[in-house]
Amino acid sequence: MNVITVKIFRNALVTALWFMFLTFPIMVIKVNTTENLIIWRWHNLLYVGVTAFTASLLTALYRQYRDRKRGQQQQKEGTGRVSWNERFFNTPAITRPICALGALFFLVFPLLFSTYQVNIMTTALMYVVLGLGLNIVVGVAGLLNLGYVAFYAVGAYTYALLNMHYGVGFWVALPLGGIMAALFGILLGFPVLRLRGDYLAIVTLGFGEIILLVLKNWSEFSQGPGGISNISRPGLFNIQLSMEATLNYQYYLTIAMVLLTIFVINRLQNSRIGRALFALREDEIACQAMGIDKTTIKLTAFALGATWAGLAGVLFAAKNAYINPDSFTFLESAMILCIVVLGGMGSILGVIIGALILILLPEYLRAFSDYRMLAFGAILVSMMIFRPQGIVANIRQSYRSSKDGVP
């Protein structure tokens, strides 16, 4: 039974009072320095207090629940029980029909909904591609890349510049964008991949900022903050398409891209490289001891992740027909990271669900769109604390010996 003891109640009260004190200057006082006005917003203090109180109570109850769960599990030691959620998402008999239904839904989507919805869905699917790409780097190989959006920018600008100067079409630029991004990935990865994980995070963050600054300031090369417009949309055998048909065409292109990504990553996970990457994530030293070349395998992961970002970048430039550096800020990287973390690091289905939730929800809940980034921050923290494996936990294929020891 969950019980609210006096201690929990008192703790919640103290927490509430502490947060009311903590947020007092920022939440309550609002100054207008030009007109020398002060606005006191005492009602905010009440909101903070109530929120902190509830959050504290819920956390305490959750901890009780978790500890009891653990106690039960220890009693049943050795049965190798997995939670309903893991069983649910890893039973082919359940997941296959769901995937089939999902695929059907996405195929007929443009027939059922307006072009506006199709446009939003295309954006969401692009984030699925980006999320899956980052998943190779963060989820599978365990390398935290905070400058992922830089590779996305490389892809987008490759297409935009080639199209502007030489009139290169989408289909030629698509592989080129991927290759360019991969080259940049190797260029960055080569020197820094010898470093430990947290240094890597900050260097990739710095790299992302450098790319952004160069794009903003080197106007002769990238047209500066104004961006590049009139980028050709993807062609279909020189057939002239209406506006609606173009949007639908782009939607199906993105779907194809998502399917390709899923196919490649699925194949990758159980390949020699994939297993090496998982080993790298679990323990670098043990991985080296097993004879895996750490640098090569890290570079492979980095370049693979970058390639998908580059491909998505080309797609993005072609879809919007206009790009500028503002689309490639750190917040974008943070959002993609949030997709991967929320969905479940290493899990394909998880990343798809994560992307759809995080991109579609703010679109449909316009009223809350200001709070989007606030929510992303909170999601990152609370997922790490309460459910580090994400919505859909990724279980590696495992083999268990039978009871009497005969495999």
């Binding site: 947290d198 600054l213 943070a334 790490m384």
Partner: protein
Amino acid sequence: MEYFLELVFSGLTRGSIYALIALGYTMVYGIIGLINFAHGEIYMIGAFTALIIATVLNMYGLPLPAVLILASIAAVIWSAAYGFTVERVAYRPLRGAPRLSPLISAIGMSIFLQNYVMLAQTPNFLPFPTLIPEPAFLEPIASMVGATDLAILLVTTVVMVLLTLLIKFTRTGKAMRATSQDRTMAFLVGVNVDTVISITFIIGSSLAAIGGVLIASHIGQINFYIGFIAGIKAFTAAVLGGIGSIPGAVLGSFVLGLTESFATGYVSSAYEDVFAFSLLVLILIFRPAGLLGKASIEKV
């Protein structure tokens, strides 16, 4: 020559601010081995608190010195409180989790705090009141160095000396050094590790708050985003000096500050941040342990 001196002073000023922030990074890293991404945000919150309190006090007609002192104290108190809370909420539950978890949590905290200030206050730049007056005796050299620059240098020096004394000669300092050498062993000999970690966060955040107040009155305007770039640069400085080493952080900050100052003065100001990040990448390639750090070998 005068231009050169001006650049030197501006470099030293920048370096002092970086040092105040970098110390927080390096102390936290030394003790729990975590890059506290939210540290830049603590600095930003310090600047905001000072701005808010200073404006309120100004309106009640307090004299300038009193406003300056009270606003700075408020900034330190609230920043320390934020630092303490961030550790309790986002990092303490993750002790013993895989390395990536606290790092992601820290990034989340950083994004959360940025947007919290943006939503609760304003997304625009706010003018920061001039809290440090320009005395007359500085007139002859005013083109090279202002009163704020001198105040920054002075305050930073005093704070550094105090911090060194604290760490070298007090019981708390000893406990901090013990914890950073070996957390388990320190625990076994009776150091309350949780308290030490909290104290580290409180000290680091207070230093960042002082840096925030000083830089805000130097530049004259703040917004919710100032913590991000300042944070990355201070981290660069900490790595440059050898992360985990306190003298290293100070040295690294001055090297970074002077480099940036000369690069913007003689090359181009548009690429100011590019120099800092390139410097970071170069150090990590050629001397990953930093200028004063010791290379550690990971043992199984």
